[in-house]
C-alpha cells in the first residue's frame, strides 16, 4: 500500500470513528422510542389493558435501571381499537411518520399478523405477545414471547394427555367440544388427532361459532356421551357458560380441560372447581422463586389494583407480555445495537432466560420449545399441576 493510500485509509477510519462517536453522542441525547399498538378499546380491550399495564411496568423499571445503551426508553403506544386494519395503519404511522426506533408487537393473532406485514415491508424486528397460530407467522424477524412451540396442535394436547394420565382416574374416553375461534379451533383439531393416537376413544365432537351464548344443547350432548374427559376448546367466558349450562342439567364433567378461559371468572365460580387449563406462568413457586418474577408479581398486583383491573394475578397474558419486553431488552443489550437485523440474528441462536423459563427461537417460524403447562382450579385459585417440575409445591391433579 502506498503512503498516500495508508494516509487515506487512516483518515477514513478516523472519520468513521468520529461519525460513530457523533452518532453515539446524539443517541445519548434522545430516548429510544419503541412503538406499538394494543387493543385498548373494542372487544379485545380487557386483555389489551393487561398488556398495557405490563408494558408500563417494564419500561418504568427499565428506565430506573438506566434504560438501554445509556438512553432512556420511551414507549409510544397507540390504540388499534381491536381492529387489524387499524393496527396495520398505525404501525405504518409509527414507522414512516413517527419514525420510532423499534417496534413491539400487539397481542391478538389478527393484529399481530397485520403488524408482521408492516414489519416485513420495512425489515423491522417484531416481538409479539401471544401469537396463537405459529404456522402463520412466516416472517423471519418475528419472535414470539408465548412459548407455544412450532406445533402446538400436537405438543399441547400431548402435554394435556400426559397430565390427565396422572389423574386418580385417567380417562379412556373424551368428548371434544370447541369454539371455531381460529387459534382455539386448530388446537382442538390437533387434540382430536393426538388423543386418537394415544388410544383415547372420542365419544363426541362438537363445534360452535365464536359468539355463541347458548350452551344448553352442547352441555346435554356431552352429558349423554358420558365421557371420562371433556376437552373444551373455549376462549374468554365460553368455558364458564358451558359449565354453567352443565350445572343446570345437574352434570359435573369428570375431567374438563379449557384452552384459553378468562382466568378470573374461571377460578371464581363454584361449577368451575377443578377445571384444567393451559398456562405458562402462575403466581407460585417454582415460578416465583425467580426474584424478577416475584417482584413483577408484586408490582403487577399493586398497579393492577390501582388501575381497577378485575384480575390482579399474573398469568399467561401478563407473563407473555413481560416476556416480550424481556426478549426485547436482551436482544438490544446483547447486540449493543438498535439494528433490527443484528438483534434478529442474535435471537435466532440465543437462549433468553425469562419468567416462564428459558426461551429459544431456533425452530419453525422462530418458535422454540413448547413450555405450556397444565393448571387447575383448586380452592378458587389456579395452581400448576403438570409437569411436576413446574407444579406448585404439593399440587397434583385432582378429580372434580
Amino acid at each position: 500500500m502506498s503512503k498516500m493510500a495508508k494516509l487515506a485509509a487512516a483518515a477514513a477510519i478516523a472519520l468513521g470513528a468520529l461519525g460513530v462517536l457523533g452518532e453515539a453522542q446524539a443517541q445519548g441525547a434522545k430516548p429510544i422510542v419503541v412503538g406499538s399498538t394494543l387493543a385498548l378499546t373494542g372487544p379485545l380491550s380487557a386483555t389489551g389493558l393487561v398488556h398495557k399495564l405490563v408494558g408500563e411496568i417494564y419500561v418504568d423499571d427499565l428506565n430506573r435501571r438506566g434504560g438501554l445503551l445509556g438512553r432512556k426508553v420511551e414507549w409510544k403506544l397507540m390504540d388499534d381499537q381491536s381492529k387489524p386494519d387499524l393496527a396495520r395503519t398505525l404501525y405504518e404511522q409509527l414507522l414512516t411518520a413517527d419514525k420510532v426506533d423499534l417496534l413491539m408487537g400487539p397481542y391478538a393473532t389478527g393484529a399481530i399478523l397485520s403488524a408482521i406485514g408492516v414489519a416485513q415491508r420495512y425489515n423491522k424486528l417484531l416481538i409479539s405477545h401471544t401469537m396463537g397460530i405459529p404456522s402463520l407467522a412466516k416472517y423471519d424477524m418475528h419472535f414470539p414471547a408465548w412459548s407455544l412451540g412450532p406445533n402446538p396442535q400436537a405438543t399441547v394436547p400431548t402435554t394435556v394427555f400426559d397430565a390427565v394420565a396422572q389423574a386418580p382416574k385417567p380417562p379412556k374416553t373424551v368428548a371434544i367440544v370447541t369454539s371455531k375461534f381460529p387459534s382455539v379451533h386448530f388446537l382442538s383439531l390437533g387434540a382430536r388427532e393426538v388423543f386418537k393416537q394415544k388410544g383415547l376413544t372420542e365419544v363426541l365432537f362438537l363445534e360452535w361459532e365464536f359468539g355463541n351464548r347458548d350452551f344448553g344443547p352442547i352441555a346435554a350432548r356431552v352429558k349423554d356421551a358420558k365421557p371420562d374427559m371433556v376437552w373444551s376448546g373455549d376462549i374468554g367466558l365460553e368455558g364458564n357458560m358451558l359449565l354453567e349450562a352443565m350445572k343446570k342439567i345437574d352434570y359435573v364433567p369428570p375431567l374438563h380441560v379449557h384452552t384459553y378461559p378468562a382466568p378470573g371468572p374461571m377460578a371464581a365460580a363454584p361449577e368451575t372447581d377443578k377445571a384444567l387449563s393451559l398456562t405458562i406462568f402462575e403466581e407460585h413457586a417454582p415460578f416465583t422463586a425467580n426474584p424478577v418474577a416475584a417482584q413483577f408479581v408484586k408490582t403487577f398486583k399493586e398497579r393492577a389494583t390501582a388501575a381497577g383491573l378485575p384480575y390482579t394475578a399474573v398469568e399467561t397474558q401478563a407473563a407473555a407480555s413481560f416476556t416480550a419486553w424481556r426478549i426485547f431488552e436482551a436482544s438490544v443489550v446483547a447486540t449493543k445495537s438498535l439494528d433490527d437485523r443484528k438483534m434478529a440474528d442474535w435471537l435466532k441462536t440465543a437462549q433468553v432466560p425469562t419468567i416462564q423459563g428459558t426461551l429459544r427461537f431456533d425452530r419453525g417460524n422462530n418458535f422454540g420449545d413448547d413450555l405450556m403447562r397444565i393448571k387447575q382450579v383448586q380452592n378458587k385459585a389456579w395452581v400448576t399441576v403438570w409437569p411436576k417440575q413446574w407444579a406448585a409445591p404439593g399440587a397434583t391433579i385432582k378429580m372434580p
Binding site: Q81, E209, G211
Partner: protein, 578 residues
C-alpha cells in the same frame, strides 16, 4: 347530470392518485386507503338504504361475500388477485339480488323487518363460510398473494385500488342520484305505493339499487382482504360494518350523493384522531359524544345542513313562476264518445268486505265522468284499482283497448292514467317541484330528469304553487297540498285523470278556483273521472255521472237523471219504512 361534477370527481381522484409519488410517509397511503374503504362501504349502504329507505343491517354479509370470494380464490385457488375482484363484486351482487328477488315481492317486508332479514342473512352466510372449505374455521391467510404493481410499493398498489373503487363509488352515487333511477329510489323511500302508481317500476329499481350496492360492498371486501391479509369469520361478519356505514351515512347526510363519503371521512378521521394510547377510553368516549351531538343537532347530516341553508334562498324557478302559464297536457281530442277506459265485471274484496262488486262502466274520451255515491260505496277503491294501486280480484280494465288488469301499478301510469289522492300523499322529503317532476319523469311517455324538472315548473305555476316550488310539502296548507296533488297528476300528461275528492276540505272560494282549474284541464283535452261529494261541483263539471253503492253500480246518466233514480235517492237518503 352535470358533467362538471363528474369531471370534478375524476379530477379529485386523479389528484389523490399522485400521493404515492409525492414522497410522503407510507402511512398516509394506508390511512387514505382506510378512508377510501369506508367511503365505498358507506356509499354502498346508502345507495340501497339511504336512497330507497330499505334499511339494511346486512352489509356485513355483502362485504363478507366479496372479502371471502377474494380470500378463497386468491388465497386457496391461486387466482390472480385482480381477477378475483369482479368475482367478489359478482358474488355479493348475486347474493343481494337473490335475496331481493324474493323479499321485494313481499309488501310486508319493509322497515325493520327488512333490516332484521338482512341481519339474518349475515349470520347465515357466516355459518356457511365457517363450516365449508371457504374458511372452515382457522381463517384465510393472504400474505403470499401477489398484488398487481400499480404503484411504487405494495402499499401504494392497495391504496390505488381503494382509491379507484372510491372514485367509482362516488361517481356511481352521483350518476344514480342525478338520473331517473335516483329520483325513483327517493320516491320509493318516501312512499313506495304512490311511487309505483306514478309510474316508478319499484321492484326493478329496488333490485338495481340492491345489486349495485352489493357489488360495491363486494369490491370493498375483495380489496380489504389483502389489506388485512388475514381474514376470519368473526371479524368479517361482525356488526361493526353495518353499524359503521349507517353512522357514516347519517352523519354525512343520506339524501345527498356525497353525504356518505363526507360521513366516512369524518368518522374514520375522528376514529384515527383518538388512537393515542394515553387516554384511549376517554378518546373513544369523546368520539361517541361528538357523533351523538352531530346526529342530534344535524338530523339531515352535514350535507343536509348545507342543503337547508341553500333552500332558504328562493330559487329562480319560484321567483319567475307565472300562475297564468298553461302547460301542455295530453293530446286527447275533445269529447268524442269513443271509449278510453272500459271496466268489465270488476271485483275487489278486503278481508270479508266486498268493496267492488261486478262493476262495469266506461269512460269516454274527452268527458268528465262524475263518480258519486255515499261514504263506503267503493269510489276510492275503484280509483285505487283502476290506477293500479290495488290489484283487482277479477274483471277487466281495458285502457285504449289494452287490458291492464293484473299488471304492476307503474304500467297503469305508463299507459296514461294519473290520479290524485283524497288525502294528499306527496313525497315528503322532496320539494314541490321535485314532486311534480317525478310524475313527469315516470308517468305517460316519461322523459329525462332534466326535462322533467324544466317542465315541472310550468305545472307548479299552473297550480298556483310557484312561490312554493322549493318548499317541502309539510310547509304547505291543505289547499296547497291538494293542488300539489293536482299538479303532480297533470305533469304526467295523462290521458285519463282521476280526481279523488280533490275539493274536500276547501273553502267555497277555493272550490270555485278548483272548479275553474278542472274546467281548464278538460278544455285542454284531458279525460277526467271526478269523484266528489260536493254536488254543486259535480253538477257544474260533469258530462255524465255513475253512482256506486255498496261496491255496485246502481245508476248511470246525466246528473239530473241519476238524481231522480229511486235507488240513488235511497242510497243517499235511505228508504222510508212507514
Amino acid at each position: 347530470m352535470k358533467p362538471r361534477i363528474a369531471i370534478s370527481i375524476l379530477a379529485v381522484g386523479a389528484g389523490l392518485a399522485t400521493v404515492p409519488w409525492l414522497g410522503l410517509p407510507a402511512f398516509y397511503e394506508s390511512f387514505l386507503y382506510l378512508l377510501c374503504h369506508w367511503i365505498v362501504l358507506a356509499i354502498s349502504w346508502n345507495i340501497l338504504s339511504g336512497y330507497t329507505g330499505y334499511f339494511s343491517f346486512g352489509h356485513g354479509a355483502f362485504f363478507g361475500a366479496g372479502l371471502y370470494a377474494t380470500a378463497f380464490l386468491a388465497g386457496k385457488q391461486d387466482w390472480p388477485f385482480l381477477a378475483t375482484l369482479p368475482a367478489a363484486a359478482l358474488a355479493a351482487a348475486l347474493l343481494g339480488t337473490a335475496l331481493g328477488a324474493v323479499v321485494f315481492r313481499v309488501a310486508s317486508v319493509r322497515g325493520e323487518l327488512f333490516a332484521l332479514l338482512t341481519l339474518a342473512v349475515t349470520f347465515v352466510l357466516a355459518t356457511i363460510i365457517l363450516n365449508t372449505p371457504i374458511d372452515g374455521g382457522p381463517g384465510v391467510y393472504l400474505i403470499g398473494v401477489q398484488l398487481p404493481r400499480l404503484g411504487p410499493s405494495a402499499n401504494a398498489s392497495i391504496y390505488l385500488m381503494g382509491l379507484a373503487a372510491a372514485v367509482a363509488a362516488v361517481l356511481l352515487a352521483y350518476l344514480i342520484h342525478a338520473a331517473k333511477l335516483g329520483a325513483g329510489l327517493f320516491a320509493i323511500h318516501d312512499d313506495e305505493d304512490v311511487a309505483e302508481v306514478m309510474g316508478v317500476p319499484t321492484y326493478r329499481f329496488k333490485l338495481w339499487a340492491l345489486a349495485l350496492s352489493c357489488a360495491l360492498a363486494g369490491i370493498a371486501g375483495g380489496i380489504h382482504a389483502v389489506f388485512v391479509s388475514y381474514v376470519t369469520v368473526a371479524e368479517t361478519f361482525s356488526i361493526a360494518v353495518p353499524l359503521g356505514v349507517v353512522l357514516m351515512s347519517i352523519l354525512g347526510g343520506s339524501r345527498h350523493w356525497l353525504g356518505p363519503a363526507v360521513g366516512a371521512i369524518a368518522v374514520t378521521g375522528l376514529q384515527y384522531f383518538f388512537t393515542s394510547g394515553e387516554a384511549a377510553v376517554t378518546g373513544r368516549a369523546l368520539f361517541g359524544l361528538v357523533l351523538v351531538l352531530a346526529i342530534l343537532f344535524l338530523p339531515g347530516g352535514l350535507l343536509g345542513l348545507l342543503e337547508r341553508l341553500r333552500r332558504k334562498t328562493p330559487s329562480p324557478v319560484a321567483a319567475d313562476a307565472k300562475p297564468a302559464v298553461q302547460p301542455a297536457l295530453a293530446p286527447s281530442p275533445a269529447a268524442s264518445g269513443t271509449p278510453l277506459l272500459q271496466v268489465e265485471g270488476l271485483f275487489k274484496s278486503f278481508i270479508g268486505v266486498r268493496a267492488l262488486e261486478d262493476v262495469t262502466l266506461e269512460v269516454r274520451k274527452g268527458e268528465i265522468l262524475g263518480l258519486v255515491g255515499p261514504n263506503g260505496s267503493g269510489k276510492s277503491t275503484f280509483i285505487n284499482v283502476v290506477s293500479g294501486h290495488y290489484r283487482a280480484d277479477a274483471g277487466r280494465i281495458r285502457f285504449e283497448g289494452r287490458d291492464l288488469a293484473g299488471a304492476d301499478g307503474h304500467r297503469f301510469a305508463r299507459a296514461g292514467i294519473a290520479r290524485t289522492y283524497q288525502i294528499p300523499r306527496p313525497f315528503a322529503q322532496m320539494s314541490v317541484i321535485e314532486n311534480v317532476a317525478l310524475a313527469r319523469m315516470f308517468g305517460g311517455v316519461g322523459c329525462s330528469r332534466a326535462e322533467a324538472l324544466a317542465e315541472a315548473a310550468e305545472f307548479v305555476a299552473f297550480a298556483g304553487l310557484g312561490p312554493h316550488a322549493q318548499a317541502r310539502p309539510d310547509a304547505l296548507n291543505l289547499h296547497q297540498r291538494k293542488f300539489l296533488e293536482l299538479a303532480r297528476a297533470l305533469a304526467a300528461r295523462p290521458k285519463l285523470l282521476m280526481l279523488d275528492e280533490v275539493l274536500s276540505g276547501l273553502t267555497p272560494a277555493e272550490i270555485d278556483e278548483a272548479i275553474a282549474m278542472i274546467r281548464r284541464i278538460r278544455d285542454r283535452g284531458t279525460t277526467i273521472v271526478f269523484v266528489e261529494h260536493i254536488m254543486r261541483a259535480v253538477v257544474a263539471l260533469v258530462d255524465r255521472v255513475v253512482v256506486l253503492n255498496h261496491g255496485a253500480l246502481i245508476a248511470e246518466g246525466s246528473a239530473a237523471e241519476v238524481m231522480r233514480e229511486p235507488a240513488v235517492r235511497a242510497a243517499y237518503l235511505g228508504t222510508t219504512h212507514a
